[in-house]
């Protein structure tokens, strides 16, 4: 699969309300290319609820239901049940939520929907902050990152949502990144073909939230993978398969770049470098990444 083999059809129409350089619309364009026309999307409060644009127009060329912050997965369960009763079994139902609506506010609805084996896809686009409401800290914000509510840098490590999801023993879960469109496309295609609950998480580097120039969105995703700050994997039939560079990192065939290579381009970590280098926090960030990879190696190699 090469980029030129991806379908031409656009379901995200030009002229939306997204910021320039928005990773969410890059991800959504690829996801909807994979899911096709016969799809219902559930959107809780998140950036995408704004990107849709204002009444009476919308930028998305598929049926969309907006729902409360905590209820994305519950709403998807209801839509799926309704379609099933109408005999529309080939319609794909998917929830598209941010990391705030997944990690923090929507976790109980998500956990419930997966446990009930609801036949739907839950996609979390993770920009590691509540960017829609003005860059507040979320459970996905990494250690040391500035947000408007963690002015001196976050003092806690981020939650490992993948581990929580895998504990539900669901048929399919995956982690992807907007910088690898073929990988993301294949994962969504595969999720569409499997019955039962599916969970996909997409890393979405946010230019205004992470404070980097808007043309660097794709580069930030690539660096996140190369430094090991994010991993590409699939979890299918209780087996973990790492993809692309993450596979090479897991098998130690390539050396990961230091995490500093990734964070030094982001304004949200600037206080770690200026006026003096905060060696203690920088080491803690690197150690946290190493611990995650050591655990991956112990469990899945």
């Amino acid at each position: 699969m090469a980029i030129k083999d991806l379908p031409d059809t656009e379901y995200v129409l030009a002229g939306s309300a997204a910021c320039p350089g928005c990773p969410a619309t890059i991800g959504l364009r690829i996801v909807l290319k994979a899911l096709g026309k016969n799809t219902v999307m559930i959107v809780p409060a998140c950036c995408t609820a704004v990107i849709e644009s204002v009444y009476p127009n919308t930028s998305f060329d598929i049926p969309v239901m907006n729902i409360a912050f905590e209820a994305a997965a519950a709403g998807a369960s209801g839509v799926e049940a309704g379609l099933r009763m109408q005999g529309k079994k080939d319609t794909t139902v998917f929830a598209w939520a941010g990391d705030g609506g997944t990690y923090d506010i929507g976790i109980q609805a998500l956990s419930g929907a997966i446990e009930r084996q609801t036949n739907f896809i839950y996609i979390c686009y993770n920009n590691q902050i509540y960017s829609n409401t003005g860059i507040q800290r979320s459970g996905a914000t990494p250690l040391g990152a500035w947000t408007t509510t963690t002015v001196g840098g976050k003092t806690e490590v981020r939650k490992e949502m993948g581990d929580i999801i895998r504990a539900h023993h669901l048929p399919y879960a995956a982690q992807a990144c907007i910088s690898y469109p073929e990988d993301l496309y294949n994962k969504v295609k595969k999720a569409k073909s499997i019955k039962g609950p599916k969970y996909i998480e997409i890393l979405a580097p946010c230019p205004p939230g992470w404070h980097f120039p808007m043309e660097k969105t794709v580069d930030m995703g690539v660096l996140a993978i190369e430094t090991g700050a994010w991993a590409l994997y699939e979890f299918e039939n209780e087996k973990m398969i790492f993809n692309g560079k993450s596979k090479l990192l897991l098998e130690k065939k390539i050396e990961p770049k230091p995490v500093e290579e990734w964070i030094k381009y982001q304004g949200r970590f600037r206080h770690l470098f200026k006026p003096t280098r905060d060696e203690k926090t920088l080491k803690a960030i690197q150690d946290n990444t190493d611990i995650i990879w050591e655990r991956y190696r112990k469990c899945y190699l």
């Binding site: 980029i3 030129k4 991806l6 031409d8 656009e10 995200v12 129409l13 030009a14 002229g15 939306s16 309300a17 997204a18 320039p20 350089g21 928005c22 990773p23 619309t25 890059i26 364009r29 690829i30 849709e52 644009s53 204002v54 009444y55 009476p56 127009n57 919308t58 930028s59 998305f60 060329d61 469109p181 230019p207 120039p213 808007m214 043309e215 660097k216 969105t217 794709v218 580069d219």
Partner: protein
């Protein structure tokens, strides 16, 4: 895209340019040179706006009505077929 639904509740209908001509947000504009393009389509898939359109022959053209000028296309282009230039002051 044009189908209307007979429902009681208020619903929005899909429209290109739902927020108007977003090209007016632009500070830097992309300049595309066709002779340098190798048709890898990286600019097309990474354009957040879908403003880079794929032509039938596999080349691309940029819809300046909606291009917000983020510069991702120029940044992901490996052969520098797209460069960014400052918009002239209106």
């Amino acid at each position: 895209m044009s189908k209307k639904y007979n429902v009681v509740t208020s619903i929005s209908y899909p429209k290109e340019g739902a927020m108007g001509k977003t090209g007016s947000w632009r500070v830097f504009k992309p300049i595309f040179s066709k002779d340098k393009c190798v048709k890898c389509l990286r600019c097309w898939i990474f354009c957040p706006e879908g403003a880079v359109k794929k032509n039938k022959d596999g080349s691309v053209s940029i819809d300046m009505d909606y291009c917000k000028g983020c510069g991702i296309c120029a940044n992901v282009c490996n052969v520098k077929a797209i460069i960014m230039e400052r918009e002239e002051q209106q």
